[in-house]
Structure formats: C-alpha cells, structure tokens
C-alpha cells in the first residue's frame, strides 16, 4: 500500500506529530525548518513523511532561511509550513513580515517554551502570544490559533492552511510544550470529511489580473510562478499590480488592505469554546494547555454550585473583543491564567471596558497552572 498523505483512523500520537499530520492532510508538501526544542518532533515527522507523499523536506541553516524558503515554496505553488519555538520564532519575524506584505499563504507552528532568550528550552511557556500579534515591524493583520490537545493540533493546523489560503498570509499555530509533547488519541477523518481549501488560479487574463487587488474584502487569487502572469512580488509598498510605488497614497491602500482583510473578517475567523458561561459570574479566559486545567477547575466549581465559566480561545488573534465586552455585562470578574507575566490579559482588560474586574494569574514558565490553583483563584472572587 502506498503511503497515505491522510492517515485516516485513530492514532495515539503527541501534539507535534499531530501538527505534522494536520499539515500533510491539508496538502502541505514543503517543509523547511531548523531543530529546536520542543518543536523538533514536527520537523522529524515531516522529514520522514514528506518524501513518502512526494513532498520535499529541507533543514535550513537557520529559522530566517526556513521562513524565507517556505515563502518561496508557496510562490512555487506548493503549500508550505515550518515549525519552531520562541528563539526561532524571533528569527522568523523578518520574513513573516515579508509574507504579510506579499500576501503569501503558509503556516508557522510555534511550540512555545519559556523565554526570553534561551529561557527554559524543554519547559512550557505561553509568552510568544504578543510576538505572534506584533512581532514583525509595521502593520498587518494576524491569525493565530491555539490548540489545547493533540487532536486540535491536527484539526487546527489543517484549518490554519485553509485560513492561509483564504486570507493569503502566514497563519500561526500557537501551541505550547505541554500540548506538543502530550500524547493522546487523535482521530484523523477520511479525506472526504476533511475541509481543504485549494488555491484557486486567477480566473482572468493577465491584462486584467491584479495580484494585490485591494478593492474587495478578500485578496485576489494568487498567480504562482510559471503560470505566465509574471507577477512582481516585493516587500516594498506596492500597488495592486505589484509594482513598487513609494508614496503615502499607495501605502494607505496597501496597508489598509492587509490589515482590513483580517479586521473586517474577524467574526468569520474567530472560534471560541464557551463552557458554563450562560450564568457565569466569574469567567476564566484561557487557551492552550492552560485551558485544560481551567476546564477541570470550572467543572469542580460547578459541582460546588458556584457560577464560574470558561471562555476558551481557539483563535487568539483576531481577538474576540465583542464577545468579552458582552460577557462583561454579566460577569463581574474575568480571570486569565496564562504562562507569562501578562499578555492576552491585556486584551481581556481592554475588551471589558472597565465593566468587570480583570485578574491575571501569571506563571513565568516551566510548569502549568493546576486545576486546584485555578479553582482557588476563582473561588476568591465568588
């Protein structure tokens, strides 16, 4: 039997392996990466799996090159991805900006460890969340997904490829060391049950094709190399044709387009899971591994008859500000456990507009919150 690109069935694999399989299932056929704990297992799985399914794996000289290479592969017409952790994510920021400016679909998985700098290479962190949003210079829209289980590593990595194709930009899968190294059951559905967005070719002749059209809510279809469209792709400010134009007028259109395509479609992109929120007086907002502990804490609190709920962020960017604003009409306190000294909590605080108390439950990294700790923290406000 030929090696399958989609390993339909039940598996017992870790989150990193599931990210790789999610990418392969979505049609990823090019991976460029650089070893880094705790993301190396994604690269290792890709090195084994890609040649089986007719793809190319390459270990680049650094993460700068890895990010550049996946952009190049994407313009070569192949779905591409890379994976890394904090130090590598920092190096990728330069070409993430190029990907944003040139509207290049691809997927970057960041298996977060504790930083800054080398930090705790083998231990968990969630402190790259703001870097994902703002890490490269200049303005751009951001999509970041935060899987909380190996199953979601599969599902959301595949979904990230779809979002990358629809919105034509790099999409981040912001997982963490705990989820990446956690082994659980992962169900890979049959091919016909998977929703895969294929890259459309431009429908118009070259004379009428505008590769960077900014007039609609979504980007134009992407003409890749060899299709005869002779697109000029530049990191310089460019007009709809792709020609560099160094004026404020074109900058205005260019940047508003790459920000607005996410901002104006945010409601379509945002995914959350709402647990016991209907009558919640205290809302825990969590994502990634932290949301697993929070889920247990909420279950315990409800058993005690206490009105606590969990808002689990599946997409962290764009941020569900409107939802939190509405919840702040009902809940008097929001508690945000995260493995950093305050990142996503700022968005929660901003979104409640002063109508609720916002509490950060911070850990600097290396371990995750226990359900007991979260339960006790929530209990203090109920």
């Amino acid at each position: 039997m030929a090696a399958k690109d989609i390993l339909t069935g039940e598996h017992f694999i870790h989150g990193d392996a599931a990210c790789a399989e999610g990418g392969l299932a979505a049609g990823c056929r090019f991976f460029a990466g650089y070893p880094i704990t705790p993301a190396t297992e994604i690269a290792e799985r890709m090195a084994r799996r890609l040649p089986e399914v007719g793809g190319v794996y390459i270990q680049m000289e650094d993460e700068i090159g890895s990010m550049a290479a996946i952009l190049g592969a994407s313009w070569g017409g192949v779905k591409s991805m890379t994976s890394t952790s904090g130090p590598g994510f920092s190096l990728m920021m330069e070409n993430i900006g190029l990907g944003m400016m040139t509207e290049t679909p691809c997927v970057v998985v960041d298996v977060q460890r504790a930083g800054p700098s080398t930090g705790l290479p083998t231990l968990v962190g969630q402190a790259d969340m703001m870097q994902a949003r703002w890490g490269s210079h200049g303005d751009y829209g951001c999509i970041a997904l935060a899987p909380a289980s190996p199953q979601e590593c599969f599902d959301l990595t595949a979904h990230a490829f779809n979002l990358a194709e629809i919105y034509r930009q790099p999409v981040f899968v912001m997982t963490d060391e705990v989820v990446g190294h956690m082994t659980e059951k992962v169900v890979i559905p049959p091919k016909d049950k998977l929703k895969i967005v294929e890259r459309p070719k431009p429908a118009v002749a070259r004379a009428n094709y505008l590769p960077f059209d900014s007039s609609g809510p979504l980007p134009a279809p992407m003409a890749v190399a060899g299709q005869g469209y002779h697109v000029h792709v530049t990191g310089l400010t460019h007009d709809e044709r792709g020609y560099p134009v160094i004026t404020d007028v074109v900058q205005e259109r260019n940047i508003r387009h790459i920000v607005d395509k996410i901002r104006k479609n945010a409601e379509k992109i945002i995914q959350v899971e709402m647990i016991d929120l209907a009558d919640a007086e205290v809302v825990v907002v969590a994502y990634g591994c932290t949301s697993r502990a929070a889920r247990q804490a909420i279950e315990n609190l409800r058993k005690r008859g206490l009105k606590a709920g969990l808002l689990r962020l599946v997409t962290v960017w764009p941020f569900p500000s409107d939802l939190i604003r509405r919840l702040a009409e009902q809940a008097h306190t929001f508690i945000v456990p995260e493995i950093n000294y305050g990142q996503v909590v700022y968005e929660v605080d901003r979104s409640t507009k002063g109508k609720a108390k916002v509490v950060l439950m911070a850990l600097m990294g290396g371990s995750m919150h226990t359900p007991t700790e979260i339960e006790a923290a929530v209990g203090r406000y109920l």
Binding site: M1, A2, A3, R29, F30, A32, R48, P51, E52, V53, G54, G55, V56, I58, M60, E61, D62, I64, G65, S66, A68, A69, L71, G72, A73, S74, W75, G76, G77, V78, S80, E94, N95, G97, L98, A207, L210, S214, S215, V224, A225, G226, G228, Y229, H230, V231, H232, V233, T234, G235, L236, D239, E240, R241, Y243, P244, V249, E252, R253, R256
Partner: protein, 307 residues
Amino acid sequence: MEIILRDLQPFDKKAVDEAIERDHGLHPYDKYLKPGRIPHIWCPGCGLGVVLTCFIEGVMRKGYSVDECAVVSGIGCSGRVAGYLEMDTYHTTHGRAIAFATGLALAKPDLKVTVFSGDGDLFAIGGNHLIHAARRNVDLKVICVNNFNYGMTGGQVAPTTPLGAKTSTTPFGNAEPGFNLPHLAHASGAVYVARWTTYHPRQLVDSICRTFDKKGFTFVEAIAPCPIGYGRPNKLGSGLDEMRYYREMSEVRNGVDPKDADITLGGKIIVGAFVDTERPDFLENYCSKVVAKAQQKSGGRPKGRAA
C-alpha cells in the same frame, strides 16, 4: 474604537495601464522587461544596467521563454533587478534571496531560478544562506553584482571593500580585508564559478549561458562601477574611468584556482571562468537517496513533484 482615516484614492487601473504601456515595446529587449518599469533607479555610470543586459542576452541566446524563468533578488541597488524583468520576479528581504529561491526552486524544479543580488546582500547579511545553498548544491544561478560597497544606502563599507579603501563608514580607510567571492563560492561547493567585470559583457553572457546549462549552484561575480558610492571617495573618477580601470587592470585567467583571485585596492583584477565541475544537485540526491527509500519502505510507487 472609532478610526479616522484619510480618503482613499482608489487604484486607477486604466490610467496606470496607459502610463506603463506608453513607449513600451520600442526597444528589442522590451519583451523581457516589465512594462512601465523603465527608467530604472540606478545612477549614471552604474554597472547594473550592463549586467542586466547581459542576463537578458543570456536568456535570449538560450531561447528561453519568459514563462520558464524566475528571478529572486534581495535588497539594495542590485536587488532592484528583479522588478524590471518580465518574468515571475521576487524582491525579498535583505540577504534572504537565496533562502527564498531555495524554496521556490525546490517547489518548482522545472523553473530556471536566478538569484540576482549585490555583494553586501549575498555575502554579509546573506552569507550563511549562500554557503549552505552552495553546499547543498541547490539548482540556483547566482549573479552577484560586486561594487565593493553598499550603494543604496550611500556608500558604506561592505564585506568586499578592499583593505584601505574609503567609504562613508571607513573615512580613514578600511581596516578589514574584503572577501574573495569566487574563492568562497568554490570552497562552499558551487559547481560553476566565474568573475567578470562590466568591461567584459561578452564573457559575462557566455558565463551566464553556461550556468543555465549546469544543474546545481552556480556563481557569477560581475564587478561593476559605483561612481557615486565607491568611485568618489576613492578618487576613481567617473563610471567610464572605472571601466578604463577594468580594461587596464583586468587579467583573464580562465581555470585559475579562485584562491589566487584576491582583489586588493588598486591591484590587478583576475577574471575568468574559474571552476566548472559536476556533482549531483540537492533534488537529485533527495530523490535518489531519500524519496526512493521512503517510498520503497512505504511500498508505494514514486509520486509527486520530487519524484
């Protein structure tokens, strides 16, 4: 949050079309140039136009269609080459052209991918990508325009600036020796290495054509005048004077060991086709040593692009 924005001026495709089509097609090379991109941004006396012309000549001589070729550039004066060519062209980040081109070439192996960039871009900020792409023998044709300085930013010291040469950041003369680019490319594993100056357009076209025949990583250094950034502080005169210098000081030594082709301030310039060798490129090795085994192990027939 409310946002106050300036009125947007929409893209006027008709007006832009008219502007860029004006006069386009009058020159025999126009079919290789993107409509409306000329005049270029380069200074009078700059050598980049010569190297660009040589590249177009090479593509013409090989009879390639513009659909089969792609050009990737980094940042700097040489980085602007991509934007003028009527091909799929990519103007990437500073130093990363080779890494980007690696992905492009591996994703689309039937494409002829040329990397066109400058000495600072390819050998300072991008040096690591260059040596590794050469080691892997990725099928890339690198043309490095060497003007011995950072021209775009106004003439600062580069990794090619000879010892003692003046630039805006070495006002008393450069304390560092420059790289010998062919030697570095050769040592890193390039299968073809040549150096010419813009005084040698025919040889340059020959070398570019030869690189198209090669499978793997090739390197052509094109030494070019930069009368504004490098010529002025070093009192080399105009662009034409620099061309005279190339005529008088160049010594053609085909096949010479690149280690003997060092460049010094005011010294001879050894030019020629130095290295022309064969070894399997990245994809050939990947297919024969990796894909074949992986697919044999999984019991399938070879498939996909890499097959």
